[in-house]
Symmetry: C2
Subunit: 333 residues, 2 copies
DNA sequence: AGAATGTCTGGGAGCGTTCACAGACTGAAG
DNA sequence: CTTCAGTCTGTGAACGCTCCCAGACATTCT
């Protein structure tokens, strides 16, 4: 690779000093129009590109943030929600010329690496995804005082780590109400893990509507994977063969539940109505297509990024953002 | 954030000079056991973490590579293959303590940004994903002489950009042979875009087996999206209502084809056999589950990363890697 | 006129590393 | 005892940038 032009070369080409070039680069005031034009021309002529390392060295800013995916490796990206999140975050960050480093935090070694990376000052901020309650990394990051936000609250750290999320509880209520209105009498639910906000709050919303009808017999827990949806549904069928509806806390798990129901010879929605949550791409590719709760995940990602950038820009604290959900009726319920 | 310890602090704590600490850090020879121990201790005591910016400034190496996703924004991550790729790459790179920056290259602005980023020396290498023939970015990167590899050949640049890929052509042959053996007579195909290797070679393999039976009437093109699978299937049904099998070049598109067939009242596999390609997570969540060709995508990603790291480490050139595929029989054919 | 204020520019210092070099010390070979 | 090769260590000079300060100059106010 040929030697790249430095700020010196630009300064020489423009007939000004480094200082002036730097001022132009950083959009400072106090640069005469003539100098400004000369520098701009010199920049394009020389093909100059600022060296972020050198800049970071003095500014202590890197122009990049890291997205941390806190799931066991094989689960990461199983749910299409991950794709939406990452794609949206990259786009929003790109607008500000901030780049996104993606790291996995599925085991202790990973978490150690992430921490070293962040403590090393290699990222201006951290975007936590699918962080479970009791995550040691989240605590360590808070202690490091690095700007950090999460997609969805971190259970137990709601006040320490700002977040954007869908209104999980109200969303679950919407689905529960709908199932009741449809005349379903024995409504079960498959929740997410109880150390995630989606797990907890979607169950709460469900219970809000069902009241004491939400008996433990009709509640099963999954771990967001399709397979867990399958097995939770199987347990449910065994324990409550007379159920006529099930609210599954994610579309992916709902796809699993659907498979189990089919294998058991139950027709959907005739025998059993199935309600999902997310309105992810899966919802339209199952058979039958899922009636589900749409959460505006792209918008959640955008808001999360916005919060993070505000923190990076020096805001002392930012308020969590909760976005509304909507019921999407298809064929499964 | 409290001031982070520098190499000076470590040197002082260990009672040696910067140079010695640097030698320990970089695993150099010529450090006495005593000095080595003292430095190691000082490092843990002070909680020292090397500043990569300062290091990069002098070494001209960044310890990070960038993965470039060359699809329109809304298509990126629609296919679960992306997840497998990115997750595997991150893991493999992490073993070498290399971090992964993910960038989108869906439009010209994006490509410009990627190019600036790479030319700016912010990444040691580039991992291209889903790059189409005629991609200007790929050419520009080759010209920049930055280490670059691709997942799947870049059509037209097979020799300029090393890659790892599944044996698309042979995989397609396997499926075509299987459908023939099953007694199917009028076998159609839905290909990927003809400017991608998967699009071209899976059609070639199909044609290898079907010979002149692979008439243009029985060939339709999709763009890898589920929706394109739906519409391609619809066009096929209109043009060749008597078809009794269809080989779809990706599971995601096959899911779309399945939906169209169902809507048209064709039973799968009774009336029409459907063969997919990828054996992605979708294959088991469709109804019926897809008979498909497994491509070892995680392994492809691993090999691609390996090639990239070799180039980054200074290898002049590396040989492309082609990995075998296998037929996976489920219910759709 | 002189002072005060504001605009613009150049250049030294420093960010935290690695690298090359010079020099000190050791032990073995002549 | 000298020479030489090998081992080990410290230090100055980069790497490419931003920040800060001093100073030049122009304009306005008293």
């Amino acid at each position: 690779m040929a030697k790249r032009p430095t700020i010196h070369d630009v300064a020489a080409a423009a007939g000004v000093s480094r200082g002036t070039v730097s001022r132009v680069l950083n959009d400072d005031r106090y640069v005469s129009p003539a100098a400004h034009a000369a520098v701009r021309r010199a920049i394009t002529e020389t093909g100059y590109i600022v060296n972020r390392n050198a800049r970071s060295l003095v500014t202590q800013r890197t122009g990049s943030v890291v997205m941390v995916l806190s799931e066991p490796h094989e689960k990461v990206f199983e749910d299409p929600n991950y794709g939406v999140l990452i794609r949206t975050a990259i786009r929003r960050l790109a607008e500000r010329d901030v780049s996104l480093v993606v790291m996995l935090a599925g085991d202790d070694g990973d978490r150690e690496r992430v921490l070293r990376y962040v403590r090393g000052g290699h990222a201006d901020g951290v975007f936590l995804v699918s962080t479970h309650a009791g995550d040691t990394l989240a605590d360590a990051l808070v202690k490091t005082r690095v700007p950090a936000v999460a997609q969805g609250a971190v259970v137990g750290r709601e006040n320490a780590i700002p977040y954007a999320a869908a209104d999980d509880r109200e969303g679950a209520r919407q689905m529960a109400r709908y199932l009741v209105e449809q005349g379903r009498r024995r409504i079960a639910t498959i929740t997410g893990p109880m150390d995630t906000p989606g797990g907890v709050q979607r169950l709460e919303g469900f219970a809000d509507v069902l009241g004491r009808k939400a008996s433990r017999r009709l509640i099963e827990h999954g771990d967001w994977t399709q397979l867990s949806g399958e097995s939770a549904m199987a347990r449910l069928l065994e324990r409550a063969p007379d159920l006529d509806a099930v609210f599954v806390a994610s579309d992916l798990m709902a796809a699993g539940a659907l498979a189990t129901l089919r294998a058991a010879g139950r027709r959907v929605p005739d025998d059993v109505a199935v309600g999902g949550f997310d309105d992810s791409s899966i919802a339209v590719s199952t058979h039958p297509p899922l009636t589900t709760i749409r959460q505006p995940l792209a918008q959640v990602a955008e808001e999360t990024v916005r919060l993070l950038l505000e923190l990076v820009d020096g805001a002392d604290r930012v308020e969590p953002v909760i976005l509304p959900t909507t019921l999407v009726v298809r064929d499964s319920a």
